[in-house]
């Protein structure tokens, strides 16, 4: 479903149940796109996208980010190759969902302990994705012609990962508003186990690299709205002692 641009509401106004405005249209229709045309976005457009990142809010205005643009096809190919290699290695030790029964039972004796200690990295979703990558069923960087790496300055104010998320999403939305396609890639983290890549990108204290954004022209154009889960939202509107009202957001 696409929101028609002719039907959008003016910016800077609100009336109940008015049509979406153009900012909301970009937010709601943005999809992570994982199929790109070969030719990269022009440099001027990348600079424009970076501007959206440079002007993101950050705790204490600390701007704890460092942008690294990677366009070299040679480097991109090498990154993909090494990321797949690392993921294959991890999955050799951790993937109990594939292979013969003996292998699976053996891995299960320790896998859940490892998952407990790396609950975010080994959550079922990335585990499934890495299993697919290890078996050659999908790619890490989706063949994107450009990556913007978002290094985080760990000395930032408060909680720097929040700032990185905001900054990156600013750039993603700017990119989609200009017809480009993007996908966040958290799996770039696996490359940081290799000193080779930390050195190549200059990732050492105070910097840390957990995320990057793949950018390019979509092939095909795939931005459109999707259904998402109805959320239970707590509304506190009464007094100190009153229980919150639970509202089903989106229904």
């Amino acid at each position: 479903m696409n929101i028609k641009i002719e039907d959008t509401s003016p910016i800077g106004k609100y009336e109940e149940s008015m049509p979406w405005n153009q900012i909301e249209k970009i937010i709601l229709e943005r999809r992570s796109i994982r199929a790109f045309k070969k030719e990269p976005l022009p440099n001027s457009m990348l600079r424009r996208i970076l501007e959206a990142g440079r002007f993101a809010p950050s705790a204490g205005n600390s701007q704890p980010w460092k942008f690294i643009v990677v366009k070299s096809p040679e480097i991109l190919a090498e990154m993909e190759k090494d990321a797949v290699k690392m993921i294959k290695l991890f999955m050799f030790f951790m993937d109990y969902t594939k292979g013969n029964i003996l292998r699976r039972l053996y891995i299960l004796t320790y896998a859940k302990w490892v998952i407990r200690f790396m609950k975010n990295e080994l959550h079922p979703v990335p585990m499934g994705l890495m299993s697919q990558i290890a078996h050659g069923r999908t790619l890490v960087f989706h063949g994107a012609p450009t990556l913007i790496l978002l290094a985080e300055d760990r000395r930032g104010v408060g909680n720097p990962p929040t700032d990185i998320g905001i900054c990156g999403q600013n750039m993603v939305l700017a990119a989609h508003s200009m017809g480009a396609a993007s996908c966040w890639i958290g799996l770039i983290k696996v490359l940081m186990y290799l000193p080779k890549w930390r050195k190549r990108f200059g990732i050492k204290f105070p910097y840390q690299l957990n995320n990057c954004i793949a950018l390019g022209w979509p092939s095909p154009q795939a931005d459109a709205t999707v259904p998402r889960e109805v959320q239970l939202v707590q509304w506190y509107e009464g007094g100190m002692k009153d229980a919150p009202r639970i509202e089903r957001q989106g229904e």
Binding site: S32, S131, T138, G250
Partner: protein
């Protein structure tokens, strides 16, 4: 609202066990599907396949992906899918042939607490 019990907190689910995990699933309308292969190409994990074509066949240029059958969600031996219910396939489908059957909700330790199983499009309040 759901709660995470102590037992939930202690138990990591077995990722390929259907009793412990709910993964996404899709319904393909065979009447509407024109077998263009676009959904197979854009699925994040390469979990959508037809009987003869996978995502990597299309990405590598080996196959075009057209006219190779109605896609389906790939399943592991245990019957579980790897679908995370992102529905990017449904957003891209030019013929509105895909509908979503259920959301992604892992069990025990990873159980989601405030997300319901109802899936809705954006609502302009």
């Amino acid at each position: 609202m759901q709660k995470l019990s102590l037992l939930d907190r202690l138990r990591i689910p077995t990722y390929d066990n259907m009793m412990q995990m709910q993964t996404g699933d899709l319904i393909f309308d065979e009447m509407k599907c024109r077998q263009c292969g676009i959904c197979v190409k854009i699925c994040p994990g390469g979990c959508l396949v037809t009987n003869s074509v996978t995502k990597m066949d299309i990405m590598s240029g080996k196959e075009k992906g057209t006219k190779s059958g109605v896609p389906h969600v790939d399943t592991l031996k245990s019957g579980i899918t790897l679908c995370i219910a992102c529905y990017d396939c449904g957003a891209v489908c030019p013929h509105k042939a895909i509908s979503i059957k259920r959301n992604f909700n892992p069990g025990y330790f990873f159980k989601r607490l405030i997300q319901t199983s109802e899936m809705r499009y954006p609502k302009n309040y």
